[in-house]
């Protein structure tokens, strides 16, 4: 089982990112669950959501304590939250950021999802949409196939710009 913890801020679309990723994995023929941690979330506060991907049915409902991968959709969350908590040795960290961050002992990736979204004017109430471009990055890392990533986006969104930003993230992210 591959376990992913997504850090974001309330209103930023972290829960939708989890659902998109689970849907893409599901379209790849895997079992997947996506669950938000509903707490005292409010717009702008740090929030987490979880994705599990496996070849067998998933029976676990509790929160992910030792993720294989951590996704940070808003780098400023790292000022107040230890996003590496419980991350498995050698695990993967993805940060939505122009500049790479160093995480010794972990495989680190980054791409500027916010910039990609803004280049397409993709925002809701002024907040850039980072979850659909994230699916492109997730495909590049190999979590899901790129075809399934695009299919998942099309199943959940009408606006084709969401696919365009995923393609841009897939292209721009350096492995």
């Amino acid at each position: 089982m591959y376990e992913i913890r997504i850090h974001s801020r309330g209103g930023q679309g972290g829960v939708t990112a989890a659902r998109l990723l689970a849907l893409a994995a599901f379209r790849d023929g895997k079992y997947a669950t996506a669950c938000p941690f509903y707490g005292a979330e409010r717009r702008g506060a740090p929030v987490v959501s979880f994705v599990r991907i496996d070849d067998a049915p998933i029976k676990v409902y509790s929160q992910i304590r030792g993720p294989d991968m951590v996704v940070v959709l808003d780098a400023s969350v790292m000022d107040t939250v230890d996003v590496l908590q419980g991350l498995k040795p050698g695990g993967t960290v993805f940060v939505n950021s122009e500049k790479p961050h160093a995480f010794p002992g972990f495989a680190a990736y980054n791409v500027d999802l916010t910039g990609i979204a803004l280049a397409e004017n993709l925002a809701i109430a002024g907040t850039p949409i980072v979850n659909t471009p994230f699916l492109g990055a997730a495909a590049k890392i190999g979590l899901v196939s790129f075809e399934s990533a695009k299919q998942a986006i099309r199943e959940m969104f009408q606006d084709e710009r969401n696919v365009k930003v995923a393609e841009a993230a897939y292209r721009e992210m350096i492995l």
Binding site: T33, A34, K59
Partner: protein, 368 residues
Amino acid sequence: MLTISTGNKAVAAAVKQAKPAVVAAYPITPQTEIIEQIANYVAAKEIETEYIPVESEHSAMAACIGAAVAGVRTFTATSSHGLLYMHEMLHWAAGARLPIVMANVNRSLGPGWNIWAEHTDAFSQRDTGWLQVFVGTVQEAYDATLMAFRIAEDERVILPTMVNLDGFSLSHIMQSLETVEVGDFIPPHHLTHAIDVDNPMGYGPMTGPKDYYRFRWDIERSMRDAKTVIAETEAEFASRFGRKYGPTEDYRCEDAEVVVVSMGTLGREAEVAVDILRNEGVKAGSMRLRWFRPFPDLDLKGREVVVVDRDYSFGFGGVVAASIRAKTGIECYNVIAGLGGQEVTYDDIAEFVRTRRIGEEHWFGVSE
């Protein structure tokens, strides 16, 4: 069709296929997504359902009762305090023999204000005459909702039925969901004692001491018959759609020396705990109790039993453990865990089994 869905949307998808004539509902977290989704179906004219937005849960159940008395299929959904606010009407629905189907998204009761999973809301309605089933997956939420209409409306039952799913941990999780072509699995609803709206007349519902108990006994007789109807319905569902259900979901129980009994999502987590314990050489099994009313006959003889209660009856004990003790005479190790969404992992459940003290009660996380 194979897709992924939240537990809430799975319930709504099943309701859409059951085509109730009337849905009356009032929103409450974490159930709201169910009635929002049904409202979407109605607005998009995907179902021909009279959708009655009401000002309270008491009225939601009252409106369902009014419609059901006229002989049509009805549905509502609620949670926690909403369910408690319906309490009086729940007795009425069962007493008037109305096969209303309701989804209850299990949530704790305030104060302190808390929106997360717990079963005390449903158990506090256990004596109302409603059938109660508890589900553990998104797929099961869908399947059980479809079957609920068929079971409730069976002429041997004619009692309201409550489908229970854990707040957030199941209502809001996304898992795979295979929807089915229902066909004639849910036949048209016919209520023999429906009022004739074209021929209005007055009824005197006063029932004296000479007759009242007969009506009560008739409810209990139907509850007992419901066990057969449930078994038949679940068997037919399995043969038509390939998914098998029973009064309990048993996992590695055949040769188990110690069995964990739990309900809802914790029952799935418990299966992972069983695998861990088996690897340690402990002959463990998991029994997830699905039906609570009617309460099933449990095969627990000769085994040690660990009951995880996500509920509590103050001054007495865990409700599930008490029920098992009363029905089977078996003493359990009763762990009170998961109240108000308290995090309980498979490691925790495995530890409950390792440290079991039969005959005692333990509140997870509390050190005296």
